[in-house]
Symmetry: C2
Subunit: 403 residues, 2 copies
């Protein structure tokens, strides 16, 4: 298949690009390199020394013999170029990662709130319009988030895959209806993914676009069998308070000798998936577009759920770290239960890579190898959900010398 | 109250501005005059000879002695100026009409789809962000649409005011939950109002903004007691296939001797409200902001429902016109039932202005007075929901000479 990977230079996009290329697909990355530019503004960088997209692609060609195309293009603002790329490449499928994806960054300032909405909504809507205008019949696979459902809404009921069956009282008795699961986003970032859902629903209904929306859990891990073939192919590892994902942050903190940062009680339960499963799920989704194009196919892309404090304790016990309880900069419930269905992915052949000591240790090792690149002032999360919320100062003045 | 009227130069915005000014409020209109500029692109104009916003405001001062402020500002692109206006004026309340509001225009081309989303989403989100950033405690009243609910979804059940009580099955029995009514928009325009809803919900929950969302029916009528005080205050009257609303179009067509254009079977049932009630509803909403600021107050701003064919027959019978059945450029159900609750507005003191011969005749008279300004080539609706859908040619080559 000819596949466009929009946002193919990012944390999930790059490993997906290599995985799909390795599996024989003809890949073109479309990316405006915004993730790298945001790091410039935040004065932080990937813990791992990621190479430029050009060097990455050249290295992959050396290692695998395969070509990957690259177009530097801003989906939100360069509509005409996007339409030209679709008309020129005529992709069979498109994977859409090209959105600002950090909740804390999306809540950081008025400017980042606006950037997140302006960028994400326009990127998605430009893409949908361009598919219609150019008559591109490509199947679209979008990376959404478990966060569209919010937490604790349905009590003991498992979160279904996108659609919820409810009963509506009417004068003629109860009506059973399958509805898009009510949206309950916890940040401006998550909100943009709920907006995406409604745009997908409309363009599926009106134009018959074939769309799959993957509601992904928190991704952890760094390397895949492809990214570890050459150091120039290494994936990014975010450890900072805005972009770092929670389990990877715990592993990094344990590796560099920093207390594990639990914001709030740690009673928050979240869904997780390893980066190796992310790339497999994308391939499964590409191979199984919706039969009925009038309705978006929704899959829950996660393999397990954990309480954050349980994860912290597990890492602390295994690796000898301390836990620091910090003020929570988010407005969220202190605790929640979370039960999630992922029956469709399991039925389509996903064999979950769940938490194991070996994988945790691999993550710690990656972090330890590059510990000297860490900036200790970037570790505590300080983007607050409302002005005036309390945050913590740095927990340590400098990191211990690495062995 | 100091009130900002965003979009205060438009079809609903201008009469609201005058009504609120007449009632003693201190009004500033914020408008980028986009509605007039779209008419330039569409090569059409209001049937009534509306004056420039400057002349309108001067005329109102002559007639009433009252001052109205005006700021020419694009909410979607001039965030810093918006924030400065909020900080400078410190409004008690804001009425937000400032969105592209025609479904056919929103479906006309890829460019107008994108304009509608880019403009409406950014205008609303910039406003929300600016309220938070400037600490403006103003109550916000937004003009939404009945179209967020879609048609025919809930069978014989009346459409409630914004929130629907449903039963969710769980392993521990059924859970009763009040949810935002599932969105089922029929056009890109309507879709943007469903996106607005989710943004309002988030900013109410996270930031405690006090927001009222008015789900308005199709507005008909032209003049209010304020706009009819001087010809320079006259409200706009859209008769073209993109911006004209259905009942006003029938009245105009009857007045100028054009067949009444029924697109499709006419079995579509829609909700209606007269422009005189629109302005009253806004005042009622301003006087009754939500008590619980964590949840958006939703009111259904409509007074009656009618099948389009029934309206056409009523106008045809009363005024001696013919009915022409044309291909429907929209993708929608041929027929639907529609029962809508508006209990809250009734309880808050609205006395509905329903369809009457007198008001219909008033509309016909306004149209007849300015019939010479009509362009017969703009009457048939030709913006199609999908490429290739059939449309009709012009029904008449020129309009009969007016008496």
């Amino acid at each position: 298949m000819r596949v466009l990977v929009l946002g193919g230079d990012g944390f999930c996009g790059w490993p997906t690009t290599l995985y799909l290329s390795d599996r024989g697909h003809d890949i073109t990355v479309v990316d405006n390199l915004s993730r790298r530019k945001i790091d410039v503004d935040l004065e932080v960088g990937s813990l791992t020394p990621i190479r430029s997209i050009g060097e990455r692609i050249r290295a992959w060609h050396e290692v695998s013999g395969k070509e990957i195309g690259f177009v530097n293009l801003d989906l939100a603002t360069e509509y005409d170029r996007l339409a030209a790329v679709l008309a020129g490449i005529r992709p069979d499928a498109i994977v859409h990662f090209a959105e600002q994806r950090a909740a804390p960054y999306s809540m950081r300032t008025g400017k980042t709130k606006r950037y997140t909405v302006d960028n994400n909504v326009r990127a998605t809507h430009n893409l949908l319009t361009a598919l219609v205008e150019t008559g591109t019949g490509a199947a679209l696979v979008h990376l959404g988030t478990m966060g569209v459902y919010g937490y604790g809404w349905s009590g003991s009921a498992p979160i279904p895959e996108g659609y919820l069956t409810v009963k509506v009282p009417t004068p003629d008795g109860e009506l059973e209806r399958e509805i898009l699961h009510p949206a309950n986003p916890g940040s401006v970032y998550h909100m943009t993914k709920t907006l995406d859902q409604l745009m997908f629903a409309f363009y599926a209904k009106n134009d018959g676009l074939r769309i799959t929306d993957l509601h992904q859990g928190i991704v952890w891990g760094t390397q895949t069998p492809q990214t570890s073939q050459d150091e120039r192919l290494i994936n990014r590892f975010d450890y900072d308070g805005d972009y770092g994902t929670v389990l990877n942050r715990f592993l990094m903190q344990a590796a560099v000798g920093h207390p594990l940062t639990v914001h709030g009680t740690g009673g928050q339960t979240r869904a997780f998936i390893h980066i190796r499963d992310t790339v497999r799920c994308i391939e499964i989704a590409l191979a199984n577009p919706p039969q009925d194009s009038s309705r978006v196919r929704v899959l829950n892309q996660m393999t397990e759920t954990h309480r954050l404090l349980d994860l912290a304790k597990m890492v602390a016990d295994a690796m000898g770290a301390e836990i620091a309880y910090l003020p929570n900069p988010r407005r969220e419930a202190e605790e929640n239960e979370l039960i999630v269905r992922n029956d469709q992915f399991l039925a389509l052949g996903l064999h979950p890579t769940t938490l194991s000591e070996g994988l945790l240790e691999e993550g710690r090792e990656v972090a330890a190898r590059y510990a000297g690149r860490a900036d200790v002032t970037k570790i505590v999360a300080r983007s607050v959900w409302r002005a005036g919320m309390e945050t913590s100062g740095d927990l340590v003045a400098e990191l211990p010398a690495q062995p």
